[in-house]
Amino acid sequence: MNEPGSARTRRAVAGARAAVAAGIENQPTADVRKSIAFQAFLLFTIGVAILGLALLLIDAFVEGLPRFGTELFTAETSALPQDSGFYNAIIGTLLVIAGVTAMTVPVGTGAAIYLEEYADRERWWNRLIEVNIQNLAAVPSIVYGILGLAFIVRGPLSIGFVVLAGSMTLSLLVLPTVIIAAREAIRAVPPSIREGSLALGATEWQTIRRQTLPAAIPGIATGVILAISRAVGETAPLLLVGAAAFVTFSPEGFFDRYTVLPVQIFTYFARAQDEYIVLAAAGIIVMLILLLAMNSFAIWLRNRYEQKW
C-alpha cells in the first residue's frame, strides 16, 4: 500500500495529470471547429423553421390589414369586393363544425374505448382496425372529398351540396385523429383505478362509465378540440362537396347550400383581382383569430384539468 504523499504516489499523480493534459490539449482542433459549425447549423435550422412560419403570419397581416375591420365579421358576400365580408362563410364554418363535433365525439370516443378497454390485440380483426386507422390518417384529405362527392353528395345518400355533406365528409376525415387522441387520453388513466373498481364488484361498463371516462375526459376534450380545429382550416375536401359555390346568403340549417371560411378565402383569391386578394388576406386573419381562440381554449383546458397520477 502506498501512503498518500509518498514519492511514488506523487510521481503517479503527476504522470496521470500529464497524460490527461496531453489528451485534452491534443484534441484535434478540426473536431472542435466542426462542433461549432454543427451547432451553428442547428441554430440556423430552428431559426428558419420559426422565422419562415412567423413570416407567413406577418405577410398575411401586412397584406390583409388595409381591409381588416369588424365589418368583415358582419358583412355578407356581395357582388363588389369592397362590400364583401365573411359573415356567411363564418356561419357556414360554425354549422359544419357543429355537425362534425356532434358526429365525431361520440363515435370517436366509442371507438377509442373499444380499442383500449375491450379489444383483444391477439385477434386479427382488432389488429386490422388499428392498422386501418393508421392508414386512414395518412390518406390525402382531397381523397375524402372524392368519397364525399361520390357517396354523400351523389350516389347512395344523394343529399346534394349542403352543409350536412360537408359535415359528414369532414367527420370521416378527422375521425382517425379523434380516435388516436381519445385513445391516448384513455391510456393515460392508470390501471389501478380500473382494478380498484373491478375489485369492488363493478362490471366492465360500470368501471368505464364511472371511473375511466371521467378521468380521461379532459384529455379527450383537448385532443378533440385540436382535431376539430384542423377541420376548421381544412379546404381541399370541401371544394369537392359544394363549399366552393358562390353563395350570398347564410345557411340556416343542415340542408342549405353553404360555403366555409377557408374555401371562401380560396375562391376570393382565385378571382385574381387585387381587391379580392387583399380580401383573401383579411380572411386569413379572421380564420387565424378563430383558430387561435380554439387552440388557446384547448391548452387552457389541458392546464386547468390535467391530472398527474
Partner: protein
C-alpha cells in the same frame, strides 16, 4: 397446497362442479354496449371500404375508355373532350406532384431534422418547453394560408433575388415557391415526430458516450441519431405523404399547366390541383372528365398507401429496442 390440489383433483374426478368466477347470469346490457362500441371502431374500416369503392367504380368506367397503359405511361395530359386532341397520359401531373415534393423535402429534411436535434440534444429545457409547442401550434395553420404565403411572399422574393446565371426568373406561378411553402408546412411534422423519437433514446446511451469522451455533436450524430432512426424515417415518410396529398398550396401557387420534367421556375400542375380545379368546375356525372377525377384520385390513394406501408415496414426494420 398439495392437499388442496388433491382435493380439487378428486372433486373433478368425482364430477362435482367448481364454483364459477364469472357473473351468475349473462349480462346482455354489457354485451350490447361492447357491440355498439365495436361498431364505432368498425366505422373506420367501412370508411376505407367506402373510399376504395367510390374510387374504383368510376375509375373502372374510365379505364373502359382509356387503356391503363395509356393512362400510366402517357406523356400528354389534356383530359377533356374539349381538348383537341384529348389525351389522358397522367405522367406530367405525376411529375408535377413529385417535383413539388422534391423541393419541399430539400427544405423540410435539413430544417426539420436540424430543429429536432437542436430541441432534443442542445436546447435548454426552458427553451424547449417554449419552442416545441410553438412548432406544434404552427403545424395547425391552415394550408390555404401557406398557399397565400407562397403566392404573395415567396414568389415575389424569388423573382427579386433571382441571380441571372440561373436563367430566367420564376414565373408568377412556379413549382419552386409551392415546394418551399410545402417544405415549411411539413417542417413541424418532421421536427416534432423526430424529436419525440430522439427524446425516447435512453439517457444511458448518451451518458455512456459522454463518459468515453465523445463531443456533443458526436453523441447527437453517432449515438442518438442512429438509435432514433426508425422514428426519423417514419417522420420523413409521413412528411412525403403530406406533401404528395397537399392541395391548396399547389392550387394557389404552382399554376395549372402540366409539365413533364423537373422544374423550379415553370408552372406545373400537381395531381391534387387537377382534382381540385376539375371538381370545382361545372362537370356532370357520367362524362369522361368526371371519371378522370376518380382515376387520378385512385392513383393518389395508391401512392400514399404504398408510402404508408413502406413507412410501417421501415419502422420495424430500423427499430432499436431498449429494455
Amino acid at each position: 397446497m398439495e392437499a388442496r390440489d388433491a382435493t380439487a383433483a378428486s372433486g373433478l374426478a368425482a364430477g362435482t362442479t367448481r364454483p364459477r368466477l364469472g357473473a351468475a347470469s349473462p349480462r346482455y346490457g354489457e354485451q350490447a354496449i361492447k357491440g355498439i362500441l365495436a361498431l364505432c371502431a368498425l366505422l373506420s374500416v367501412v370508411t376505407t371500404i367506402g373510399i376504395v369503392v367510390s374510387l374504383l367504380g368510376p375509375s373502372l368506367e374510365f379505364f373502359k375508355e382509356i387503356p391503363v397503359t395509356d393512362f400510366v405511361f402517357g406523356t400528354e395530359w389534356a383530359p377533356s373532350e374539349a381538348a383537341d386532341p384529348d389525351s389522358f397520359g397522367v405522367l406530367p401531373i405525376v411529375m408535377g406532384t413529385l417535383t413539388v415534393t422534391l423541393w419541399g423535402l430539400l427544405v423540410a429534411i435539413p430544417v426539420g431534422l436540424g430543429a429536432a436535434i437542436y430541441l432534443s440534444e442542445y436546447a435548454r429545457p426552458r427553451v424547449r418547453k417554449v419552442l416545441k409547442p410553438t412548432l406544434e401550434v404552427l403545424a395547425g395553420v391552415p394550408t390555404v394560408a401557406f398557399g397565400f404565403f407562397a403566392f404573395s411572399f415567396i414568389t415575389p422574393l424569388l423573382i427579386d433575388v433571382w441571380p441571372g446565371f440561373l436563367g430566367d426568373p420564376p414565373n408568377i406561378f412556379n413549382a419552386g415557391a409551392a415546394g418551399i411553402a410545402i417544405g415549411l408546412l411539413i417542417v413541424p411534422i418532421v421536427a416534432s415526430i423526430s424529436e419525440d423519437a430522439m427524446s425516447a433514446v435512453p439517457a444511458g446511451l448518451r451518458e455512456g458516450a459522454y463518459a468515453l469522451g465523445a463531443s456533443r455533436m458526436r453523441v447527437a450524430l453517432r449515438v442518438v441519431f442512429p438509435a432514433a432512426l426508425s422514428g426519423i424515417v417514419a417522420s420523413i415518410v409521413l412528411g412525403i405523404s403530406r406533401a404528395v396529398g397537399e392541395t391548396l398550396v399547389v392550387l394557389m401557387a404552382a399554376g395549372s399547366l402540366p409539365f413533364l420534367g423537373i422544374t423550379f421556375t415553370e408552372q406545373i400542375q400537381a395531381m391534387t390541383a387537377f382534382i381540385g380545379v376539375t371538381a370545382t368546375g361545372d362537370i356532370s356525372t357520367g362524362t369522361i372528365e368526371y371519371d378522370t377525377i376518380f382515376a387520378v384520385g385512385l392513383l393518389l390513394f395508391v401512392m400514399t398507401l404504398v408510402l404508408n406501408l413502406v413507412s410501417i415496414r421501415l419502422v420495424r426494420r430500423f427499430r432499436e429496442v431498449y429494455e
